[in-house]
Symmetry: C3
Subunit: 309 residues, 3 copies
């Protein structure tokens, strides 16, 4: 089939069709065969990983993906000691590095930075996170994990639990779920409700999310729950934070009482998920992180138009 | 021959038999052929190098070993900028990274950390040093260097010189030498004598070490001397340190006067070994560091059950 | 043809003949075919990149070169967390790392450090910059860029503009240009004139540089202009700096008015080159950085005596 992504950049998830998302996930499924043993498809090719903001998980996962494809990686894990600290502009840095590599993955604290880079370069750019705006490969791996765990996305009840106001992952995932026929439950503390404009957007696009507060009830209804970190700094004082954080702690007792839904989390977790659930078959947050590899292998091979397998 | 290490972790040296140690060293000998030109045995495989505590020598040597085997490496050289700094537990970090790789090498300041990681993961873990407890690949490369230099370990006189109280390498090496028929001389300043319990353990296991103070006499008797760093912080004041450090400085004059024994050191050295000995054929401390590559190639290929050559 | 560089180190450009420089450039030209898709020539071989002083551009470009050749890289991007910080000498560090690799690239703040390392080691050392003394691969890529842009170096007028007093790149490039039949214009602010001894050296070697101040006139005469950064810290006060920096800003207007000479710069730039010239076909400073890859591929394969293609 023709590959619509060849030579393109991958900046956001919002402009992708359901067919495009499914096509990347189909390719990721093919990559499962190679994710632990590698392939030769990208032999001789280089990825530049430019992390203007550190992120071990995302960086290692992209590096693993490129290396499993047979390619290699150069880059920097932070701006420490780079020419960025000498005052070089983002534009100059990416134009220089683009001379050395075939594809760039970048994470940068400023919204729009990846798009800017893509507009300047002749090679594909993958957005590895631009501030609070986009982190499209996280959403891809989240969707892929849901599909893999539930067999298909359509027809299921998915609960998002925790911080739905500031969390980039749940914002982006909820938007992507508009392409699917799901029942979405938005369970958050009062202080961390999803913002109105996003809620309207979801409704307008045909997803009619249920706003909820009773965590036990939501878990009971859900086939899959996606928990997110509740950050201390969102609360006026520690006491307030601890009250809420405690109420949103998912433990084994709660999961088993509620029919044991599949449990996802973008990691790192703090108190939202009690380690006593780690052994449960439906606790798939580490597998979810691992799914970043086949998904990113798929994306990279689409953008570089590689022949795999 | 069957490989008893396939799929296993490598956490400590103390639980290994002589046959097991010899089998890794035999394999290391085979690796000499590939240590400078590489092989394809690990093509497509990934090692994760998780250095929660920095160590350039150990890290570079493991990376070289994996890359010479044809595999590749991802990881972090320190916790700077990693999710560890966001409060992620060791368990969560290693479980996440284990999703990306086939084998993990970790160095961590806490005793027992590598064992903990190994207990959580389905892939092999190599202990690259856990606090003052274990650093088994250092002991392997030390043994291998002795064997390579002297032809065989049995039947020789080996002197350990310097700090025998706090040095992890000499503690571990002396234990491993219990498997061999050697005469062991323990030469240290009074303040840095080997601890009683270890001394008793060595005696109980049939090694009857000679505790000594006259460095010249020890070097005269020894076929090989293993010097270690004497650390300033072990002494009440600088004057005391300098007196001892000076008494334990091995120089060309001393070596030639004493029959020129083979000279090893785990590096980095400070004043224990005078650079005027560097040119002597028996000064093998840099070769010793280099031996880390074939030894680690052997270990990695055992744990990953690779076909090499 | 016989390769005079096999097994040698590459420490400075000053001791190379025109034929030697041309031979590396010829080889770089052959590398253009592989710079984006890679080759297998260095499969199994390792480069050690020892950056005792950080330099992203140089480091990434060397890594890209080695990886495009099919080899791999280990090393450190700064001395942060290395044994250097534990007081290890340069000699001990390079001797240890030389045990792990086939070739070393090093950058170090001290003049003569690369030469010292080369004298100690059995493997080739490439000087990636030793303080203000040498950075020979920068000069190679500068020469190569001039040759590539102008077809050949002989017979052209080349203007160096900006800081000609402290800039290592222009000092070294001007020396290398003595091998060629060029007209050299030295255009700098009064405070940043080329030092007398270098000027005499150039004259003695048959290059008769024209010292100039009128930037527009120089650009008008030049086929190619090489601009360098004017550093704030060279001036007694900010006002003085800004006056000079402004006078040496090259913008689109100036370039088009002066016959649009080819424009090079070692990067990073600050105010010397206005971004409004970036789109001009003759603005080749990013390509210049990119040329570091084929040039370094050529040099590495010469030193390692690789068969490429």
């Amino acid at each position: 089939m023709p590959n619509p992504f060849a030579g393109e950049s991958f900046i956001s998830i919002g402009d992708k069709t359901r067919d495009q998302l499914e096509s990347i996930m189909d390719r990721a499924e093919l990559m499962e065969k190679y994710r632990n043993k590698g392939t030769d498809a990208a032999r001789g090719l280089l990825m530049g990983t430019l992390f203007f903001e550190p992120s071990t998980r995302t960086r290692l996962s992209f590096q693993a993906a490129m290396k499993r494809l047979g390619g290699d990686v150069i880059g920097f894990p932070s701006t420490e000691g780079t020419s960025v600290q000498k005052g070089e502009t983002l534009a100059d840095t990416v134009r220089t590095v683009s001379q050395y590599v075939n594809i760039i993955v970048m994470r940068h604290p400023s919204e729009g930075s990846a798009k800017l880079a893509a507009s300047l370069l002749d090679i594909p750019v993958i957005n590895g996170g631009d501030g609070s705006a986009n982190h499209p490969t996280q959403t891809l791996l989240d969707l892929y994990t849901i599909r893999k765990e539930l067999g298909r996305i359509d027809g299921h009840t998915i609960a998002l639990a925790g911080d739905l106001r500031y969390s980039r992952t749940t914002r982006s995932l909820s938007r992507a779920l508009c392409h699917y026929d799901v029942k979405l439950i938005l369970n958050s503390p009062e202080q961390l409700r999803m913002k109105k404009d996003l809620l309207y957007e979801l409704e307008e696009r045909g997803l009619n999310p249920v706003v909820a507060s009773d965590l036990e009830k939501s878990l009971d209804e859900a086939d899959l729950v996606y928990a997110t970190r509740i950050q201390k700094e969102r609360f006026p004082n520690l006491a307030e934070y601890e009250k809420v954080a405690h109420a949103y702690e998912i433990d084994r007792d709660l999961l088993e009482k509620t029919g044991n839904p599949h449990l996802m989390h973008p990691l790192p977790r703090v108190t939202e998920i009690n380690p006593d659930v780690d052994d449960l078959e439906n606790s798939v947050f580490f597998e979810q992180a691992g799914n970043g590899v086949p998904v990113r292998m798929a994306l990279i091979s689409d953008l570089l138009d590689l022949e795999v397998g």
